[in-house]
């Protein structure tokens, strides 16, 4: 009997086409939980990691966790797992929303999409009735237009995930959009969907999710809910993720001018409080994802005719990249760029980053104006908007930008201006002021990601009690110290593997950091014994190591666990982190050793045996 999980896998071969419903592999479910873990397990078992990410041999896997669809706070996440075309590494992009709930309510834990449709199609899942429908009339439509059209053609209660024109045009950082404004953004999972000729997935589910122990689940659920109801989440509740900006600025880590400095004197124009009092609509708040007591999403309206628009966002990362790194310092411009990214279906981080990178190349004289077709100095708002539109359509210079900043910087002979790791752009934190973030950027499986090992949050939110495998009390975590970061980074990464796999939103945890709550919820939902704190963390470690194995087989090496020269050699010029570089060379060997990996960053046979991964 399955509790928490539905026990069903929906497999859709788009080439044949053929739809099958399979039983979920029980040992995989118990060892990898769901979401990110189960996704990487299925992908690793089913594809050769060395395949071209945009070929029909790659698979696109939508996964949920055992807590998705339950009342676990924030239990409304789905994860898209694939090989990423931007990074050539494992891609795991998550979004929250009703679409995630619908997967579970329709009766599935996982949806595996394989092959490639010969003509554009969309998938219509009405509980156990599954069909592929023609989508040729939807091509070129924006994400909102697509969603409205698909709902009209299927069912008013259908929940939709789709790609916009960017996904169709194989923009390497195209996202998958759902629930009119939620995004599975990073690594280019939208391009994978586009490469399969799959425009959208619509789901209507009417079943419920049952848990193994109702009484224990209710208790764990209410305890978690009460723990979340605190001051830090209240800030998110009131101002959304843009509230982070004021915290990051305190550490001199707000990326400015393509990470040339972490100090932006104009930060006040971009803060969460400014957003709340200017462009935010609807009593400041947007709609929350299902089961979420935080509700970080914003809805904004820009009236300035030059950048007019209305929609979901912008969230902190969008503001950091489009606002500060491109130095537009204007929330109207940031919101407009964000609206375009949402409608076109593009990752706002990589889209903002590639423009910032182009701006630096331009200002330093390496990118000629005739290539761009316009001046491209930092702060050129008109250029930012024009290029954001063009890259989605691969028009003009947009065609070059659509391949991301790693390829852009390389093309113009200056790879050192790419700010990221594993070809994935940095999120909106300069790691020189946050050493733990530096190690995380370099070692996270999907590349320079801010939500896979949030060591920096221990500092940002003054967490002093983190249950590290070795020591429980970490005290105030000094962001400039590097000797304590390897153990913290490994532990936090393993922990985030659990959060990303159980089906809950990581925003529930980085503010409260209580793994006992997660374990109690997973155990009460599924009826399995996670083996206490150690067993839980071991499961996280297993997931992280399997991702590493995937990356190694796809051709990544120790050289990919790296950071740009600027982060390692150019001291931060000013601000609270003045004089700092990321001490990666000091941290990495210690980190590998803690992980039980060789000096080349390869998991040892002994470690793999310990994790039952041999």
């Amino acid at each position: 009997m399955w509790y928490g999980w539905t026990g069903n896998v929906l497999r859709v071969n788009l080439s044949q086409p053929l739809v099958t419903i399979e039983v979920l592999d029980r040992p995989s479910a118990e060892n990898f939980i769901g979401g990110r873990g189960l996704g990487v397990k299925y992908l690793y078992d089913e594809i050769d990691p060395a395949v071209d990410a945009l070929s029909p041999k790659n698979k696109l896997i939508f996964t949920t966790g055992p807590l998705t669809g339950t009342g676990a706070p924030g239990g409304s996440r789905y994860m898209v797992v694939s090989k990423g075309p931007l990074t050539d590494a494992i891609a795991e992009s998550s979004a929250g929303g009703a679409f995630a709930m619908a997967i579970k309510y329709a009766g599935y834990d996982i949806i595996i999409l394989e092959g490639k449709a010969s003509t554009p199609v969309y998938l219509w899942i009405n509980n156990d009735q599954v069909e592929l429908r023609d989508a040729s009339h939807l091509m070129g439509k924006t994400s909102t237009e697509t969603e409205i059209a698909v709902i009209a053609e299927t069912d008013p209660d259908a929940k939709v995930a789709c790609i916009g024109p960017a996904g169709e045009n194989l923009v390497l950082f195209a996202s998958i959009m759902s629930d009119m404004g939620r995004a599975a953004g990073r690594s280019g999972v939208g391009a994978v969907m586009g490469s399969k000729n799959l425009k959208a997935i619509a789901i209507r589910g009417t079943n419920g999710v049952k848990v193994a122990d109702n009484e224990a689940f209710l208790k764990a659920m209410m305890e978690t809910y009460e723990a979340i109801d605190n001051e830090d989440t209240e800030h998110f509740h009131q101002h959304g993720t843009p509230s982070v900006l004021a915290l990051v600025k305190e550490f001199g880590s707000l990326p400015t001018r393509n990470f040339q400095t972490g100090v932006n004197p104009q930060w006040g124009k971009l803060s969460g409080e400014t957003l709340s009092t200017t462009i935010a609509t609807r009593h400041k708040m947007g709609l929350a994802c299902p089961a979420c007591p935080v509700g970080c999403g914003r809805v904004t309206k820009v009236t300035n005719p030059e950048f007019a628009g209305e929609g979901v966002g912008p969230e902190y990362e969008t503001i950091g990249l489009f606002g500060s790194s491109c130095e537009t310092n204007d929330l109207d411009v940031v919101s407009k760029a964000g609206f375009i990214c949402n409608e076109m279906g593009m990752d706002t981080i990589s889209a903002g980053a590639v423009i910032a990178c182009a701006m630096e190349l331009y200002e330093k004289g390496y990118l000629p104006e005739r290539d761009v077709g316009m001046p491209l100095n930092f702060g050129n708002s008109q250029a930012v908007i024009k290029l954001t539109e063009d890259m989605a359509l691969r028009k003009g210079f947009g065609k070059v930008l659509a391949d991301g900043s790693y390829r852009l910087a390389k093309r113009y002979g200056h790879p050192e201006f790419f700010m990221g790791s594993k070809k994935l752009d940095f999120a909106s934190y300069d790691p020189r002021g946050l050493q733990g973030m530096g190690l995380g950027y370099a070692t996270n499986s999907r590349g320079a990601c801010h939500i896979r090992g949030e060591v920096h949050d221990l500092t940002l939110y003054s967490v002093q009690h983190w249950r590290v495998t070795i020591d429980h009390n970490v005290g105030p975590v000094d962001p400039h110290r590097w000797d304590d970061k390897p153990v913290l980074a490994a532990d936090v990464q393993d922990w985030f593997c659990i959060i990303d796999s159980c089906g809950m939103c990581n925003f529930m945890f980085f503010l409260t950091l209580n793994e006992d709550h997660a374990r109690a919820l997973i155990e009460a939902a599924t009826g399995i014994d996670m083996g206490g704190h150690k067993g839980l963390m071991k499961t996280g470690e297993r997931i992280f190591n399997l991702e590493k194995l995937f990356n190694l087989k796809s051709g990544l090496t120790v050289r990919d666990d790296s950071l740009p020269k600027r982060m390692l050699e150019e001291p931060m010029p000013d601000g609270p982190a003045k004089g700092m570089v990321v001490h990666l060379a000091e941290m990495l060997p210690k980190y590998y050793s803690i992980r039980g990996w060789s000096p080349e960053g390869i998991p040892t046979p002994r470690k793999l045996q310990e994790l039952s991964l041999e």
């Binding site: 009342g71 009703a98 419920g208 049952k210 609509t281 009593h283 979420c292 007591p293 809805v299």
Partner: protein
């Protein structure tokens, strides 16, 4: 005056936590379709509005029940008044669902069911962080609304 569920339109974020806990408490599973409170999400307008039984003083459902299975129950202190379906009398004829103008009573598994205020301690209210649904005396809410209007008038009134 009796307490009831009071809805503050405009505060709802559409998270549907109320639906999840309601279905779990009453049906032992998480399924918004089995909830007795519903938050209708208007995604394109970024709005959500919760709808639940208003515990009418003179309920249509009770008036039209041929089996006499619906009554108004009050607790001894008169603090809570709840329109109650008595399962032993209900025949599942669905007259109540036809009569209720709000769609807040349905027949499921052979019996009529509706919000029972969880015996005077509604669980949905406990998990509504934004305060869109509250359990209080209805006139408190009405008085607050009047005060709100008065404050707006005050703001617009400028003495020369």
């Amino acid at each position: 005056m009796a307490k009831g569920i009071v809805i503050d339109i405009g505060k709802c974020t559409g998270c549907g936590y109320c639906e999840l806990i309601c279905s779990f408490i009453h049906h032992g599973e998480f399924n918004p379709l089995k909830s007795r409170i519903h938050s209708s999400v208007f995604i394109d307008k970024s709005m959500a509005i919760p709808v639940v039984c208003y515990q009418c003083e003179d309920p249509w459902c009770a008036k039209n029940c041929p089996a006499g299975a619906i009554s108004i129950d009050k607790d001894p202190d008169g603090e809570v008044s709840v329109v109650t379906v008595h399962k032993d009398k209900c025949v599942g004829c669905k007259m109540c669902t036809l009569a209720c103008p709000f769609g807040c009573i349905v027949v499921s598994d052979g019996y009529a069911e509706k919000c029972d205020l969880c015996g005077g301690d509604p669980q949905c209210v406990k998990v509504c962080r934004s305060g869109a649904i509250r359990f209080e005396e209805a006139h408190t809410n009405v008085a607050a609304k009047r005060k709100n209007v008065a404050e707006r008038l005050l703001g617009s009134y400028q003495e020369e």
